[in-house]
Amino acid sequence: MANRAVKIFSMLAGTLLATSAFASELVINFDDPNPAPKAGFEAAVEAFKAENPDINVTVNINDREAHKTAIRNFLSANAPDITAWYPGNRMAPFVDAGQFEDISDLWASDANLSSNFEAIKPTMTRDGKQWGVPYSYYQWGVYYRADIFADNGIEKPTTWDGLLAACDTLKGAGITPFTIGTKYLWTAAGVFDYLNLRTNGYEVHNGLTAGEIKYTDDRIQETFKNWTTMLERCSFVDNHATMSWQDAIAPFANGEAAMYVMGNFSVAAYKDAGLTDDQIDFFQFPEITPGLARAEEAPADALFIPSGAKNKENARKFLSFIAQPEIQGEWNKTIGQLPPNSKAPINSDDKFIVQGFETVSTASGLAQFYDRDAPAEMASEGMKGFQEFMIKPERLDAILKRLDKVQMRVYK
């Protein structure tokens, strides 16, 4: 009798111990509640749960803008085990403040991270260490109305002169060549980045965003000269300062404008606006300085471990899990973007993905985007300057001098 009681007790104790030893937690803060990104993320989480039934995963999905403000609080007050954030200079404040965990060891030991992420590794690196794992990235370029181009007998332009000639034809037909919405400023930076990458190349662009080259430098002046040409001969839609990037799709969808310098995330929005796959297509931003190695804009989205995380082992397990080619392939197929793992399969049915992969994988260098390559304060003033220049090109000198002044203060 007594023996039996001891047995039962020890069994009970055993199960209790077992549960406390095996059931562990993993809390993830993700930043995109839109249908496709949410589905892609949740599928990856489900796959992780299936492989690790002993880990209890909690997911918090917040709106992107809200996440940007909330992260400053939750990193120090109530850190999750994994949070979504952006690489490049956008991660700098948190890395410098010691709020992100150094995962260089994972990058060195993990089979995928150590060999299939070469192209994107530099943007995840700061102070010679790696701080996060990218799950997706996307190309930028020119999205255009293939039907309007065909109606006016315009070919995909591959050179600067070709682009300007296409603009002339479009304007002759009463169509504004480019649409853009600069209310939130960053869209103008996309145009600047491409003009600068095509005029001066990756090294100079990098030097500028790293604070080594002045804005009044002759080479940057050259970029703005090209931009002036683009404003005059190509022109953008009026009132772009009052429109968001989504608002700017309206003139594109109703045929008033024919081109849009954008990232691939915008394709879904064109389709929502009623355009079909036959009506829209993509071309790489054309060459300006002949013979210059082609660099591209390819911002990545990544996941990070806060240094205040409670379950760092599980977090590392998850990051290593989502670095696998199949997971990355599936996730990006759902969201219509590119997998950073070079061994991951891409969705060959999506012409934008196929072209995007072609564009990015053959590029000589990848820029992250102006507001991730330049520090926050420089980015915010720089983008205001770009917008002002687009509306008042005659103020160029004053704008560049002002940006030099900001640069001197920010990079000291």
């Binding site: 400053r72 209310k183 400023l185 009132n239 300062a241 009052t242 309206a250 915010s380 002002e388 002002r402």
Partner: protein
């Protein structure tokens, strides 16, 4: 006899002590919250304004450097200029509110309905007001665009043009502010004594003279309140700008409160010290008005 006298005096002592203590007890919660959420942050802001700090890392003492930079910052002067514009033009809400209140202060059928319609913009959220006006001003599909196109003119891009943008936002902000002033005057008009109006009428006053010398003096408390809320509303204008332009195009519709937010707390804002310096300057400007208002109130109290 002696003992009963004593007990009476202790009782009255206790009562007077109670009367002394009671107000403090009632004041304590409010005073506590006021000091924790208002007074303390003021001093904290002043303190932080002497540091360079990104809000998460190490603070670094920089003395008056933030202020030196601020007074050399063209964005500060743009914001200050816009704040002055707000102050001046927002004041229009007071006379317009008075005019509407006088107009609505009559007894005809359905007046309550009209009053509530005029009061409506104050009830709806500033965010909604901002959005509605953003659509009004849209040159492509807004009402402004329609009107201009009807006359065959190219519509102005009010929120996209640095010359018009601040006026456009102030105009939108005036809408709810006018109804606020109107409601203050409507309650004030209820208290205007009919004896004095009668007396004035006997003395031959009517129209403008009646308004100027009989009614307006009696409306002074309402006017004072309307001016106070309008000045404060103008200085802390923030939501309209955040909704309609985010300070754009290129910062030309910024005001101090939004500039502060942009520097310290927005997507690219990691300058707590600089933001605090802006806040301190805004606080000093407000202090001028607040001390004036307090002085006026004190004078009124003294007169009884």
């Amino acid at each position: 006899m002696n003992s009963s006298n004593q007990s009476k005096s202790t009782r009255s002592q206790m009562r007077s002590r109670q009367q002394q203590i009671a107000p403090w007890i009632f004041l304590t919660p409010a005073a506590l919250f006021f000091s924790v959420y208002v007074i303390l942050p003021i001093f904290q802001s002043i303190w932080i304004s002497f540091y360079a700090w990104d809000g998460i890392g190490e603070r670094q003492w920089v003395g008056f450097e933030n202020y030196i930079e601020l007074f050399d910052d063209y964005r500060f002067y743009t914001s200050l200029k816009n704040n002055i514009l707000w102050l001046v033009l927002y004041m229009l809400a007071v006379p317009i509110g008075l005019f509407i209140a006088l107009f609505l202060n009559q007894n005809i059928w359905g007046m309550r309905f009209y009053k509530s319609m005029f009061f409506f913009p104050f009830v709806i959220s500033q965010v909604v007001v901002g959005l509605i006006f953003t659509w009004f001003y849209n040159p492509n599909f807004g009402i402004i665009g329609e009107i201009w196109q009807f006359f065959g003119a190219t519509p102005p891009s009010i929120l996209g043009d640095e010359r018009y943008v601040t006026y456009g936002i102030i105009f939108a902000g005036l809408w709810p502010q006018i109804s606020y002033c109107m409601i203050l005057y409507l309650t004030g008009l209820n208290n205007v004594s009919s004896d004095q109006i009668e007396a004035g009428r006997l003395d031959g006053a009517k129209g403008w003279r009646m308004l100027r010398f009989v009614i307006l003096p009696q409306l002074w408390p309402a006017t004072f309140l309307a001016i106070v809320v309008t000045v404060i509303g103008a200085l802390r204008s923030f939501d309209m700008i955040a909704i309609m332009t985010q300070g754009g195009p290129y910062g030309s519709s910024n005001v101090l409160s939004y500039f502060m937010f942009e520097q310290a707390l927005s997507e690219y804002g990691f300058r707590m010290g600089y933001g605090s310096a802006i806040a301190v300057i805004l606080f000093l400007i407000m202090l001028i008005f607040i001390s004036y208002f307090l002085w006026v109130m004190y004078q009124d109290e003294k007169r009884g």
